[in-house]
Symmetry: C5
Subunit: 92 residues, 5 copies
């Protein structure tokens, strides 16, 4: 899984019917010291994450499809947790 | 999922028979500020996306195969939505 | 899927038995303007692609295994089409 | 699989119910000469790895889901071994 | 699939039980002209590859799990062939 920050919401009227009703967030991956790194990912969200939240993303088809609760949905990325904090070990 | 812009159409006469009839688009991934980034992806399109459209891509085998509607087709990327706009949260 | 150019053939005598008889090509991924980019991929080929051909690659296990026609073969990349040309849209 | 060093623990109160009880580590991928490289991965851990341990990560949905022991859990990365050492061959 | 050179052996005493007995190699991916590129991958090996061998790697869960011969093992990368040579086409 990766960590990212919720930076936006994707609006799409014309989409696959299995995506209707799904909330779709734009999430910016973050580095160890919380800097943005790499390109944004679009993820479905069933946990009601909000702007600025740090979230845990799963980036794999079966797992994301499971979360959407619709069999064989065309998704590959999902929010699976909202992060309270990360305890970095000493010396890291 | 990732966001990209439709930049072309791929023409292939000699291909796997399960791809016959499938529309195949060349899509350029985009950054948060809509700049091209990384290499183009080829995606099947069942939503009739057109030149310049910003689209939502799923990049996973099972999901793409599902969209093509043919069991076990050899595809791994598909257009799953045409994007109206992205609401970027303030401060992002 | 990605686009690449066939640059070589891989010869392997000692290999998994399910790969015996499979043609294995070395394919160099290409950018939008047909420049080599990134590292070469090895792909099975059932379409008889030749040196210099631009090909469409699927890079996913189930899809590649399907093409090889042997259940649960240890492959993850396959040629699924030989590209005639790409129609780039104006302004792209 | 990849090798990484355990650098932290992820704390998430609000998460998918199938993740409740799962220990979630932040792991920094390492190069051949044990330097950090690339962005951290979040992995479930059933082996009780600790701070500073070098671990073997599997980064694939089915495999990670298997380890968690809950059918179809939304995870894609897991610790599958704690590394004692790597024997580098001469000349490498 | 990708090509790499066997550079080491990974020793792990405390690991998932399904990995017990599996030989685990460290493999350095190679470029077209056989230079090291990118980070090392850990792969199971059932073909008895040795130090310095150039090998063909499959990097996908189902395929690697198949090779290990244990149902649903937590692996995602495996050696599937030892490469004799690559015939590069003229002009490449």
């Amino acid at each position: 899984m990766t960590i990212g920050e919720v930076v936006g919401t994707v609006v799409s009227t014309h989409k696959d019917e299995k995506l209707i009703g799904a909330k779709l967030l734009m999430v910016q991956p973050l580095t160890l010291d919380r800097k943005p790194k790499g390109e944004p990912l679009m993820a479905i969200d069933m946990l009601d994450a909000g702007a600025g939240d740090r979230v845990l993303l799963v980036h794999e088809g079966r797992a994301a499809q499971l979360l959407l609760g619709k069999d064989l949905s065309p998704v590959d990325c999902a929010v699976v947790g909202i992060i309270d904090h990360v305890d970095l070990h000493e010396g890291c």
